[in-house]
């Protein structure tokens, strides 16, 4: 991938992000923030790449592993917490009746 095409990817990704959450009810702001936050843990892919390409370089393996740990902490925790919040919303319709 050339740098220019990566810049295109960056630009289009940003525009997509702006469009996607244009209209959100305030109710969902906290879950949305938490969900988006979990997605930002996508750096786990970078950490994985680092580990795979370390080629036996132990300090690099350790850095990659710690980085992966931090990222997965973000991802797993983020998605669980979001689910916990959203579970409260979906519970209500059944309670009404």
């Amino acid at each position: 991938m050339s740098f220019i095409s990566l810049l295109w990817v960056l630009l289009l990704g940003s525009l997509l992000g702006l469009e996607l959450i244009g209209k959100v009810p305030p109710t969902l702001h906290t879950p949305l923030m938490s969900g988006a936050n979990a997605i930002s843990g996508i750096t786990m892919l970078a950490a994985l790449t680092l580990i795979v390409k370390a080629e036996g370089n132990v300090p690099l393996l350790i850095i990659g592993s710690v980085s992966l740990g931090f990222a997965l902490f973000n991802v797993v925790g983020g998605f669980f917490v979001t689910d916990r919040m959203l579970a409260m919303f979906s519970r209500k319709p059944s309670n009404k009746k």
Binding site: G35, V75, D83, K92
Partner: protein, 479 residues
């Protein structure tokens, strides 16, 4: 193009699509939960894609597998445990903590690549030494470090572990932060010039900058900061995507970055603060004490829980205005008990939710949902404001600045122009509050002085419990 490349290409594409659908779905109440799971699925899919690609091309060494497994298990375990245990009231600081760790991850990746240059993917061998690589590493470190320290400071302040030091309210802080910023820039360019040792300078000064910028910000503005830092962590991820040459990372990071910015904007609007004043203005109370914050209350009416119960019993329509004080007291369940009783007596009950009630937009909705309050009873500010004149009783629970009429009447007030709930229009207003202390903004609330406002002093939970008792004695809610 060989098979592994094609497979990874398809999987990445699918993952981006699902992530986008996930974020979109998160913006609707009905689909939100499924959307969150979809996004989680997309993330795991992307991992499978990456691993299968390396298995199919260069292979993955046993040693690498070991470190992958160690990192994954520890990270996931802590994440899952924290997510299960944390109470709903501390959601803002939890998001801050998760967010900080995401930033840390990007920082570490860039640091690792900078110290031990790795051979890049087969397609572009000569790409990696280039300027662009240095720039993306520097950006990743810079943004990652700010995200990490900023988030940790935000978390510590929300938890009450850190207070706002006095010097951060003086002009000195601008000078200090400018020094950090300039030093980061110098390190940044030095690094791009190929001086690898300045990487540590960059790590240190950008970490200090993150602390220096976040520390002076007052508690009321913290949600805005967290949202902004959430956006930063997306940018850090995108920068890391440039470092390891991954389109998927760039797209996902950019989406989160953009989403965070929008949320930040929404929150600023709700509080009538501009982003600039949040970031550089310091804590609101510091500037305002001189102007209108010093006013004395002259006409406070306080009343007993019993009077409050009597008035409620006679009402036809009641509006509840919950605020962060309610959440702190963990009183949302007790509140629900009270409103159940009122409803059983045929009294119409509605909850008025200010856009920034609680500490994050939507935070109050989550807390009330936890207490089984029906979704239909939660009314947004614009919907509920015209209803106040026809309302008999308003119960203000731990909310303060969002019901301050100054925002409408007093153009000299720092709150002027902030959208507020017009509770003073109702026939009777009860404010349940611990004491006469000011809200987050530190500004006197004119509402408390109005003749139709009565203060019920006490802890929200205790007052509500007493209220249940009084209502029982009056026979409310027992048929």
């Amino acid at each position: 193009m060989n098979l592994p490349v094609i497979i990874k290409f398809v999987i990445d594409l699918l993952a981006v699509l699902l992530l986008a659908l996930g974020i979109k779905g998160l913006s609707k109440v009905k689909s939100a939960r499924d959307a969150n799971r979809l996004a989680a699925f997309a993330m795991s899919l992307s991992v499978v894609g990456l691993l299968s690609y390396y298995l199919g091309t260069s292979g993955i060494a046993i040693q690498s597998w070991i470190w992958i497994i160690i990192g994954s298990i520890i990270g996931s375990l802590f994440g899952a445990i924290l997510a299960k245990k944390v109470p709903m009231t501390s959601m803002p600081e939890t998001v801050a903590l998760f967010n900080g760790c995401g930033g840390m991850s990007s920082l570490l990746v860039a640091l690792g690549v900078a110290i031990f240059p790795i051979s890049n993917s087969v397609e572009n061998l000569n790409f990696f030494k280039s300027l662009i690589n240095e720039v993306s590493i520097s950006v990743s470190i810079f943004v990652g470090a700010i995200t990490f320290t900023g988030s940790i400071v935000a978390m510590a302040k929300l938890q009450g572990w850190l207070s706002t030091p006095g010097w951060t309210q003086s002009k000195v802080r601008h000078f200090v932060n400018i020094v950090f910023a300039v030093a980061s820039l110098i390190a940044f360019f030095d690094l791009i010039n190929g001086n690898t040792s300045s990487i540590w300078l960059l790590v240190i000064v950008s970490s200090l900058l993150g602390i220096g910028v976040t520390l002076p910000i007052g508690g009321a503005d913290m949600p805005v900061v967290i949202s902004l830092l959430n956006s930063y962590s997306g940018i850090a991820a995108a920068a890391a995507g440039f470092v390891v040459d991954s389109q998927l990372l760039i797209v996902a990071g950019a989406m989160v970055g953009a989403a965070g910015l929008i949320l930040t904007q929404v929150m600023c609007k709700g509080m009538n603060r501009s982003l600039v004043s949040v970031l550089f203005g310091g804590s609101l109370s510091a500037q305002s004490t001189a102007s209108s914050g010093s006013g004395e209350y002259t006409n406070i009416t306080s009343c007993s829980v019993e009077e409050c119960a009597l008035t409620l019993e006679a009402a036809n329509k009641v509006i509840i205005v919950p605020g962060y004080g309610l959440a702190v007291a963990q009183a949302q369940h007790t509140l629900r008990e009270v409103t159940k009783k009122l409803e059983q007596n045929g009294i119409e009950v509605v909850y008025a939710i200010h856009p920034v009630a609680g500490r994050m937009p939507g935070h109050m909705n989550v807390l009330l949902a936890e207490a089984d309050v029906p979704y239909e009873q939660l009314k947004e500010m614009d919907v509920v404001n015209p209803d106040f004149p026809a309302t008999d009783v308003v119960l203000v629970l731990g909310a303060n600045d969002v019901v301050n009429p100054q925002a409408k009447n007093d153009s000299s007030s720092p709150l002027y122009g902030m959208p507020v709930l017009d509770v003073q229009e109702a026939r009777t207003v009860f404010v349940i509050k611990r004491g006469m202390s000011a809200g987050y903004s530190g500004i006197k609330n004119d509402l408390f002085d109005l003749p139709n406002t009565s203060m019920v002093f006490g802890d929200a939970k205790k007052v509500l419990n007493d209220l249940i008792g009084e209502l029982k004695d009056l026979g409310v809610g027992e048929k």
